[in-house]
Amino acid sequence: MTDLMLRPSRVSPVQRAAGTVLRSREVAVAAVLVAVILVTTLKSSSFLFSSDGWRDLLLTPCILVPLAIGQTVVIVTRNVDLSVGSVLGLTAYLTGRLFLDHPGLPIVAVFVIGMLAGAVLGAVNGVLVAFGKVPALVITLGTLYIYRGIFLTWAGSNRINASDMPEGFLNLGTASILTIPVLIIIALVVLAVVGYVLWTARGGRELYAIGSDPDAAKLYGLPVTRRVLTAFVVSGALAGLAGVVYTARYGTVSSGAGYGIELQAVGAAVIGGVAIFGGSGTVWGAAIGAFLLVTINRALPIVGIQDFWQQAVVGALIICAVVLDRVLSVRQARRLVEARELS
């Protein structure tokens, strides 16, 4: 018995790692992504090999990726944040106004302010959910409307135009370092940080514990309220970042900014293998999912599929992903049970 207890540690970490990676969802999605890119490139080589094609391939996801990451952090705790689209719109407009009202504000400051604003909006969600103990789905549905309303009222019939913003900021939209666009670098840095924290920090692991059984987490003495609050703040801050990025990339903000993108963010997370009822899934997966979503949308017209079909394809993708999950998890459950039979 006692040596049985030790068996798992006998399997060399390398072995185990290798095993998990190969079976991992992230790899599967990444494979699909690569396939899409290959096919499209065969159809029109410039999709990948023209400087623009390459740039857009990397640049276009720079808004959805941060959203998907934030969404994952929240979903993992068995919550969801529908308000990110409105937060994005609001912070995008805020960014423009900052440049209008405080010319000469350093760009970094704008990024910081944008993320802070997002964090505050996220905190509102977090407080309501964590302290009010009310379903996140409903709360964030409410704030979705509220934030959007504030945005509309604030903007009125003004819009932000490129001419309102400094060259330096607009150039960010296309600037690259070694052919890698700056905006996506930002997104990837965020990804790396959040991913690392979720994977190895105690706080991160506790998010998973909370998501997989809130009551037990409470009895464990995990700081459930604080963690959930944090998750929403992170999601908000990343939506804020996405807002600033949006402005930098498109150089314009109209009342439609970010409308309906929250569902795409959820979709990306799901495609990336994040379980909608919490407890499992990685931000890596979500980010790849976001990449896939965006890239498919760009690829379809090129391979000559009518634009109308794009939505349908996105939907199909989501459903395939979750059905696949289902199949895999059933399988895995069986495997785990079999593992015990040895005892």
Partner: protein, 530 residues
């Protein structure tokens, strides 16, 4: 007609097998139950009892073997089919619909219908009330199931089952949550059902109950049939040795420990409507038993002390230092551990791995610079899980797939891993087999020996009397007696648990229940007292 032997069997299972994946839960389960008989089914945790039950109930489909009901071969694909065939089952875990009234819980799917197939609610409530009267419990048939203690839930389950007036009634550890009076009433009902000529199967880990109620007993071990005897012709040691396959050590090896300084001090703890001016102390190396009837408020007191539930007044001190109210983390940091009573809901992160579950609480200890590796988790978890013989080889197996007993062991292991100064353990051996039971008891007194202070809530009187240095009796949310091991006799405890203070407490309980109602909801009182 209470003679079991003669007449065709109501239920006949022969060499029934069931595997999950490649886990053989049931190798060759055999069971023959006759009309007008109460048949006990006993076996260790993981012996396959519940699995057998679930096959009869149609939850699982058997892989092989004979399954006859009243002589006819049957093969249920769903619980609906078995229900239709006259099989009523009380599952090991209560399965209620919290949002629906207890009445709807009882009659769901077969509500009495009036004109145009519309549900006749009046008839339904009336029937529910008569059921409750029969079980001698007082539950408003219109209240939602939400907020019932496990005991209450278990009673609803029983009402549900008997209301089916089935020809075969299977009860999987129905008494696990019950104590004293409830059990007696249940037995009365069971006997009357038997005398009506129905067949009953009774699963329990409590032999006193088995011998008090049943006429026949079937023993299972490792998913296989071992033996069937008339109760009259067998003895506890016999059965136990068959169950375990070895001689079991004495059940309550309480080794007197040296009592040290006061560890836990509870002063004037009060929660409106649940418990009132509760004060007691626990010393190092001392095992304090909390005895009392179901719903007396023991769990609630424990949960409040640990900080899971809020309390309106009072103080909790650990080692002289005040412990923040309603804050389990503070309690854990102060050195408390709490093994909850409802392991299924509160004990485990069931999706998580065993190791993750065991290591859960001690992350703080495990994590270096806030970082945490599953290797570390396994290191910490291994020994404890091993100590308790958790039947799992892979610490990264999912806790959810373990049998009831094994889950309990994981929870205990989890908390022991925090090396607490005070261990609060609620129903430590509920649903645990004799072998492990002895192991748990040995463990407890060993821990006490090492100077740990232990509060043990138990509805099993023998357990309390056997283990506790001191017995606190709780009645209607008040501590009505504080008995030393010496003068803690069954009579004394039961007396304190039932009458003593009962009347008195009712008198002065009324007022603070009333102003309590005024506090938050005037309208509510109409439901109860208007």
């Amino acid at each position: 007609m209470s003679g079991p032997a003669n007449g065709g069997a109501a239920l006949e299972l022969r060499d029934v097998a069931k595997s999950f994946g490649s886990v053989v839960a049931l190798k060759s389960g055999s069971l023959e139950v006759h009309p007008g008989s109460i048949h006990a089914l006993v076996g260790e945790n993981g012996a396959g009892k519940s699995t057998l039950v679930k096959i009869v109930a149609g939850v699982h489909r058997r892989d092989g073997g004979v399954f006859r009901l009243h002589g006819k071969d049957v093969d249920f694909g769903s619980t609906a089919e078995s229900k239709h065939a006259g099989v009523a089952v009380i599952y090991q875990e209560p399965t209620l619909f919290p949002d629906l009234s207890v009445t709807e819980n009882i009659f769901m799917g077969r509500q009495p219908l009036g004109r145009m197939r519309r549900i006749d609610r009046a008839a339904m409530y009336a029937e529910a009330e008569s059921l409750f009267t029969r079980l001698g419990v007082s539950i408003d048939p219109r209240r939602p199931a939400l907020g019932l203690s496990i005991a209450d839930q278990q009673i609803i389950e029983i009402a549900k089952a008997i209301s089916l007036d089935a020809s075969l009634l299977i009860m999987d550890e129905p008494t696990a949550a019950l104590s004293g009076v409830e059990v007696e009433r249940l037995f009365a009902v069971a006997r009357s059902l038997r005398d009506e000529g129905r067949a009953l199967v009774f699963i329990s880990h409590r032999f006193d109950e088995v011998f008090a109620l049943c006429d026949t007993v079937t023993v299972m071990r490792d998913g296989a049939y071992i033996s069937t005897d008339k109760i009259a012709e067998t003895t506890v040691p016999e059965i136990v040795s068959r169950m375990v396959g070895r001689e079991v050590a004495e059940l309550f090896p309480k080794t007197p420990a040296t009592i040290g300084e006061v560890v836990l001090e509870v002063e004037g703890l009060r929660r409106a409507g649940v418990f009132h001016d509760v004060s007691f102390t626990v010393r190092a190396g001392e095992i304090v038993g909390l005895a009392g009837l179901v719903g007396a408020g023991r769990s609630e007191i424990a949960r409040a002390v640990f900080g899971v539930d809020r309390y309106d007044a009072g103080r909790v001190r650990l080692g002289g230092k005040q412990v923040a109210a309603h804050n389990p983390r503070a309690a854990i940091r102060a050195g408390m551990a709490f093994v909850p009573e409802d392991r299924r809901r509160q004990g485990l992160v069931t999706e998580g791995s065993v190791a993750r579950n065991v290591a859960g609480v001690i992350r703080r200890g495990l994590s270096h610079a806030g970082l945490l590796t599953s290797a570390a988790e396994n290191r910490a978890a291994g020994p404890w899980a091993g100590r308790l013989e958790v039947k799992t080889n892979a610490l990264d197996a999912k806790a959810a797939t373990m049998s009831g007993g094994n889950q309990q062991k994981v929870v205990i292991a989890k908390w022991l891993a925090t090396q607490p100064r005070l261990l609060i353990i609620d129903e430590p051996t509920r649903g645990i087999d004799v072998g492990t039971k002895a192991e748990v008891h040995r463990l407890l007194s060993e821990l006490a020996g090492q100077g740990m202070a232990i509060v043990m809530i138990s509805s099993e009187l023998p357990e309390v009397l056997g283990m506790a240095d001191r017995v606190l009796v709780v009645c209607e949310g008040r501590i009505t007696a504080d008995l030393d091991r010496a003068d803690a006799t069954p009579e004394a405890v039961m007396h304190a648990a039932t009458h003593a203070g009962g009347q008195a407490s009712h008198g002065d309980e009324a007022p603070d229940d009333h102003d309590d109602h005024h506090d938050h909801d005037g309208a509510t009182t109409t439901e109860v007292t208007a």
